[in-house]
């Protein structure tokens, strides 16, 4: 099973320089510095090659120079998202937009009383988009892991008051699963990413992503079946430094009381991954899994 880490590759000091630039109202300086920092890191084979499993599948006809350029663009896009995440916390100057019909649909699903699972992936502005959930009239919980030695801050850590949503650590006691179950049983909103396996690979589903098999957690769909909660796949994307757009990609209805055999949930997981494929085909430089998620690659 491929392993990933949420730990930043930059040092705490490097992060603080960017935070300082943003605080001084000099976000363009932060973007300017970023271009060079990303260039430097992309020269480093260990960093650059983290995205190659994805790039070689998303851009199968690219040559070696092309791979480097794609890696640079991808890394830069990720860096921009991190700068804007910090800016959201420090300056609070980002506008979130979403279609009214998407917001209405989510609210209507929530009103049925079984909770809602907002399922996303490590793409776009996933770390900031949950700041836009305040249109929902029920509490929200976000499944979010922070490595102990991770130094970059979530947006809400830049401001007093802490997180506007509850945080469930998937590496916490019993993997946070009982808290997730409670959230849905209370009819609330659970926000979770479904594209990475954390810890055990016991309850995973194998699906095809960009024509090769990957393992994704079964837990989302199993929780949906146990609680009757609809799964709403949402993605987000940075339009520019002060604008993030969020949209509903698809909804997944998992019948209640299904068995807990992993194969039972392949259909639902594949529907989610098809949505993720649509996303990366249209927004290739907003996919941020910097590790090899494919099962069959050495």
């Amino acid at each position: 099973m491929s392993h990933w880490s949420s730990k930043s590759i930059a040092s705490s000091f490097q992060h603080q320089i960017f935070y300082w630039a943003i605080r001084m109202g000099k976000r363009p300086i932060a973007y300017f510095m970023l271009a060079f920092v990303v260039f430097w890191y992309t020269l480093t084979p260990k960093v650059r090659k983290r995205s190659y499993p994805y790039i070689s599948r998303r851009f199968p006809k690219t040559n070696l120079l092309g791979k480097w350029l794609h890696a640079y663009r991808l890394n830069l896009s990720f860096g921009l998202n991190l700068v804007d995440r910090a800016a959201l916390g420090i300056l609070d100057d980002i506008e979130f937009t979403a279609d009214d019909k998407d917001k209405t649909l989510i609210s209507e699903l929530l009103a049925k009383g079984h909770g809602v699972i907002l399922l996303t992936a490590h793409v776009g502005s996933w770390q900031t988009a949950f700041a836009a959930l305040d249109f929902l009239d029920r509490p929200q919980s976000v499944v979010l892991h922070r490595a102990q030695d991770d130094v970059d801050q979530q947006y809400f850590e830049h401001r007093p008051g802490g997180s506007p949503v509850s945080i469930i650590d998937p590496m916490g006691p019993l993997g946070g699963s009982l808290e997730m179950l409670d959230v849905l049983r209370r009819g609330e909103v659970l926000c979770i990413s479904g594209d990475r396996v954390m810890g055990s690979d016991r309850n995973v589903v194998t699906v095809n992503f960009l024509d090769d098999p990957i393992a994704v957690p079964m837990s989302v769909y199993r929780l949906a079946s146990l609680t009757g909660a609809p799964v709403v796949v949402v993605f987000s994307k940075r339009i520019h430094g002060k604008h993030i757009h969020i949209w509903l990609e698809t909804t997944i209805t998992v019948p209640v009381n299904l068995d807990n055999n992993t194969k039972t949930y392949t259909l639902y997981a594949q529907k989610y991954i098809r949505g993720l494929e649509n996303f990366v085909m249209e927004h290739p430089y907003h996919y941020f899994n910097f590790f090899n998620i494919w099962n069959n690659e050495n």
């Binding site: 019993l174 699963s177 009982l178 016991r202 309850n203 199993r222 807990n260």
Partner: protein, 83 residues
């Protein structure tokens, strides 16, 4: 069938532990990690199984952590909370 045997059979048949027999499960066997090797989703399954087969509820994460430590603690929890 006593509660211990019933619980073992339920765990084996519902948590995909098909390579185990009831005799393989010891009282001090940890449920998660190195023992039975259950994972976080199995914790959810356990909550549902306890409600369904024993009419016993797990109130919160802290109670779940204590009850789900070993087979023995789970069995004791059931016996202490069944009506």
């Amino acid at each position: 069938m006593n509660t211990s045997d019933k619980l073992k059979n339920i765990l084996i048949s519902n948590l995909q532990l098909t390579d185990l027999t009831p005799e393989d499960i010891r009282e001090d066997e940890p449920l998660f990690g190195d023992g039975l090797g259950l994972d976080s989703l199995d914790a959810v399954e356990l909550v549902v199984l306890l409600e369904k087969h024993f009419d016993v509820k797990i109130k919160d994460v802290s109670e779940g952590q204590k009850a789900f430590h070993t087979f023995g603690t789970l069995l004791s929890f059931i016996e202490d909370n069944q009506e």
